[in-house]
Symmetry: C2
Subunit: 426 residues, 2 copies
């Protein structure tokens, strides 16, 4: 069987065979997945790596309980943001000293958008995609309102972004993978286009880091943020990361100038003096428990490296998503549901999104699907979203997920009122 | 023995007796303290409550591992910031809906200082104490630099704060307990003074919350922030809290407008619409593991409530600090070390600070003391700092700590080079 022919899975047995041949297949056992669940929501919250619980126990009982305050030195807590940042750097084509782990993605967008605007202070426009993830839009709105009318946020349709980059644009702020459709920007091409116009680029890698190959260095990207709890599997609300290209380090200036971003936090000086490079992006004390979970979770990427690393994982996920789309289209034709993700796998993140002609049907179908053990999520107004985490998903999972989906569609489960009840988090 | 006569501990046996009579005595067993350690650094990092490890295990293995994304609803993760905020509210004289847990203290100072300045936009000055904890100063510097020359930071000596409040001051920003000396501002009196001048007050309760009685409501305090990892025992880098008096909720406006502070985060709207009240202080996703540790840690305060609550804990800590000072002055006279904390227990937080005539001696003495099992910390340039957490400290601990201190002074341990080696975190 040629693994390079992704649509060639005539039956489930071929999926079993593909899983046996998968160099990453053994890594499924590095995750503690519940019985009877096919997890297609690793793009919202990554699964639990088995390396995490013992590390958290160790950090809690030994480092905190026994070590107490001494563990800031003895257990190296003070270096966690740099140490974990360096591990993430290796997954996104960055240098170890270009990435730091701190705060949330939202807070890091605020810091880096401020920093980028400070560097390009001669220009007035922040350009972004009108369908960007809401927190990126809201943070930009909050910052620009604070900065006053000299700066403006320009939002255009995703398709018009490249055209809209001109010599008034200070910063192009984009999420590489659209959270609704899964469509992927060409990071290198858009960065190059921005640079030709003299603009800086701030990438949100929420659905990119740990998902597929990212090479910030080759793209000469300026700034990036990303999420610890999606494809990096750091656990619910895990700290986020921030990247700044080394060439901007000396001019890096951000307003959340907390004590851990000071050149000498324990000198307790009266005036802020920034630490070197990305260290100045730290603000308050790191959430050690949550950051240690993220640190432990990254071990599986080290184990993935000799098996093909991010390049191999990207190839695997392209097969999985192709398989999902093929099976969906053969099994669910005429259902009123349609794939809205790009068909070109190079333009698609690790995600397949399906739009429902009736949003209420779509919501109900996803609730029924989750109850049946196939976990995706729903994104208003009408999207069923399926994420494919290549570290712990098998070809058979994809096959079986579509079978369940097809069955629920055949049963018209959206007619059952219990699946229509809205939950707080969708 | 009269517990109201704190200085009457002629010998160790009286301490043992006081511990037996202590209504909070049994709560020591709620903490997992290492053998052979007397922990006088709960003001830097609270000890590990025994309620925390099983909760963290549950959150990691069951809620994250088995529940996966469903736990945002099913385990109530989405409500954690409010739920934990309500518990902290009960310890600081606030209403349940006036406190939220989010981000770090530093980030929350930024939000609330912005918010306070937005409310008093007719005024230009942020007044603070030149000895305020550095991160408060640095954050104010970062914010004011961003806001431009129309706003100014005025720092004056702690003793001159009240005098400096005038009708140009927009916000008085103070940490209630001075991190160096342990001196305590009268929260009600200073708040009243600020209000008479038309200014708002932002209190940093880092060394107050969970330490002694705080009544933000009675003081009509406007804004407050505080730390989860000191006297609240939430673990290293635990999330912080933010308080806003209900009367300011409608006008509350802060620039870190992330998606979880939106009125309907899961409607994925393009424009930010603030959630109600303090909910709009949320920004990105909460660090669930770290926040759950804090949540579990607060259980011990519920157990303290029928034993006398914060009033009883405050009385206990006054006895402990008096005992420490009395013993220090009788055992360590002529050592070149002197108590610099206020002698009036009502003007002193849960802390006794001792200044060394030679800073190098002071640093070395603290390192030797830590190695001998009595853990305090050192604050540049010359302060040995001892914190007293009334939930897990006994009178005998205080007695024994001073005995060890006196012995090390007698031995002139600062002459040993090994104690002079500086560590990253002091």
């Amino acid at each position: 069987m040629d693994l390079q022919e992704p649509s060639r899975f005539p039956d489930r047995a071929h999926c079993v065979q593909a899983d046996r041949a998968d160099p990453f297949g053994a890594l499924v056992d590095d995750f503690d997945l519940p019985e009877g669940v096919i997890y297609l929501d690793g793009n919202s919250l990554g699964a639990l790596p088995r390396s995490v619980p013992p590390r958290i126990e160790e950090v809690t009982r030994r480092e905190w309980g026994e070590g107490l305050i001494r563990s800031w030195n003895d257990a190296g807590w003070i270096d966690l943001p740099r140490r974990v940042g360096a591990k993430i750097a290796s997954l996104i084509g960055a240098q170890a000293d270009e990435v730091i782990v701190a705060d949330s993605t939202s807070v890091n967008v605020y810091k880096l958008l401020s920093a980028a605007l400070a560097i390009r202070q001669d220009r007035s426009i922040v350009l972004t995609d009108s369908g960007n993830f809401p927190t990126d839009l809201y943070i930009a709105q909050g910052l620009l309102r604070q900065l006053g009318p000299s700066k403006q946020l320009l939002t255009v349709d995703r398709r018009d972004i490249v055209e809209a980059i001109n010599d008034q644009v200070a910063v192009v702020m984009l999420t590489q993978v659209d959270y609704r459709s899964g469509e992927k920007f060409d990071l290198a091409a858009v960065s190059a286009r921005a640079h030709r116009a003299g603009a800086l680029v701030l990438w949100d890698l929420a659905h990119s880091a740990g998902a597929f190959q990212v090479d910030l260095g080759a793209a000469q990207a300026d700034f990036a943020v990303g999420c610890g709890y999606k494809y990096l599997n750091g656990g619910p609300g895990a700290p986020a990361f921030a990247y700044v290209a080394r060439r901007h380090h000396d001019r890096l200036d951000q307003p959340l100038s907390g004590w851990l971003g000071h050149a000498e936090p324990f000198a307790f000086e009266s005036d802020y003096r920034p630490a070197s490079g990305v260290n100045r992006l730290m603000c308050g004390s790191p959430a050690v428990l949550s950051m240690s979970a993220l640190d432990a979770a990254l071990a599986v990427f080290e184990r993935a490296e000799p098996r093909g690393g991010m390049a191999g994982l990207e190839a695997k996920v392209q097969r999985l998503t192709e398989l999902f789309i093929d099976r969906f289209e053969s099994r669910c034709a005429g259902s009123g549901l349609r794939v809205i993700s790009p068909r070109n796998p190079n333009r698609r993140g690790n995600q397949v999104s399906i739009a429902a002609s009736d949003p209420e049907h779509g919501y109900a179908l996803m609730q029924a699907l989750i109850a049946a053990g196939v976990i995706g999520d729903f994104r208003a107004p009408d999207i069923l979203r399926f994420g494919f985490a290549p570290l712990y998903l098998r070809h058979v999972d994809v096959w079986d997920a579509v079978e369940t989906l097809a069955r629920l569609i055949d049963e018209r489960v959206w007619d059952e009122p219990r699946w229509r009840q809205r939950k707080a988090v969708t």
